[in-house]
Symmetry: C2
Subunit: 150 residues, 2 copies
């Protein structure tokens, strides 16, 4: 667990005019300690020892997202997943989405591909009037565990 992350996150939250309560710190800690995006349930479960409750997880994620501390990750099923914002982790990555169990894991794309994607983003912005905030290059398929389970 990187304490620098906890502090940097707090800076963003207070800058946005919110309090950096123990509950919010707990959410950040849980996400910082995870190696993949977590569902709201997983966050509440792992933060239970710090007194985290599901409804507060939901409310805190709203604040943390608008403060640029966490990012929503879209998976396959309809349950929401979150991870620390890349601005905090300095670790640009993409996702492998299992269409069987819904789990989302990380992977990095080659620099050459990132460059090509950036170019495409610029094109879309200029030709379609769509203001791009983020690109996602995600791969849908079957994870190793689900393949083995068949």
């Amino acid at each position: 667990m990187k304490s620098t992350t906890i502090v940097a996150a707090g800076q963003r939250v207070t800058d946005a005019g919110h309090r950096y309560s123990t509950g919010r710190q707990a959410v950040v800690r849980v996400l910082d300690g995870a190696d993949r995006p977590l569902t709201t349930n997983e966050i509440a479960e792992r933060g239970k020892k710090h007194g985290l409750v599901l409804s507060s997880v939901y409310r805190n994620l709203v604040v943390l997202e608008s403060s640029g501390v966490v990012a929503r990750v879209v998976g396959w099923d309809d349950s929401l997943r979150y991870e620390l914002a890349e601005a905090l982790t300095d670790h640009h990555h993409h996702h492998l989405v299992c269409v069987e169990c819904g789990i989302v894991t990380d992977f990095e794309a080659p620099a050459r591909l990132e460059k090509a994607m950036s170019q495409a983003v610029a094109d879309v912005t200029s030709t379609m009037g769509f203001q791009v905030h983020n690109h996602r290059f995600d791969l849908e398929g079957i994870c190793a565990k689900c393949r083995a389970a068949k």
Copy 2:
């Protein structure tokens, strides 16, 4: 509306061992007549004149998806969206996802980018034991309409 699409879809449904009922045809017609992925509500709404009901839309989408006729499109909010499978339309494309209103629209990526993405897919398959079914290169941002509304 391309009648060939309706027929080809029916072939896949019957090949998968299901009946090509009027309700399923209606779903295919609705999606074929749309220029973007539709939510379950939108499908039911547009198919109402053909006697489509929401619960049947849900049930039929399950069958149509497993038959390879429709594809689930993951947006921003939690409502599910569907479009005709690319195998039927011969039109590979990607999506612009508005994080404001949730609407999803289509765009095509340059061939050069598609090639780079295919390469990355091959790498992941061989190195991470993840069996890729589909890649998505989606752009999240604010659509022209939502920008204007501010």
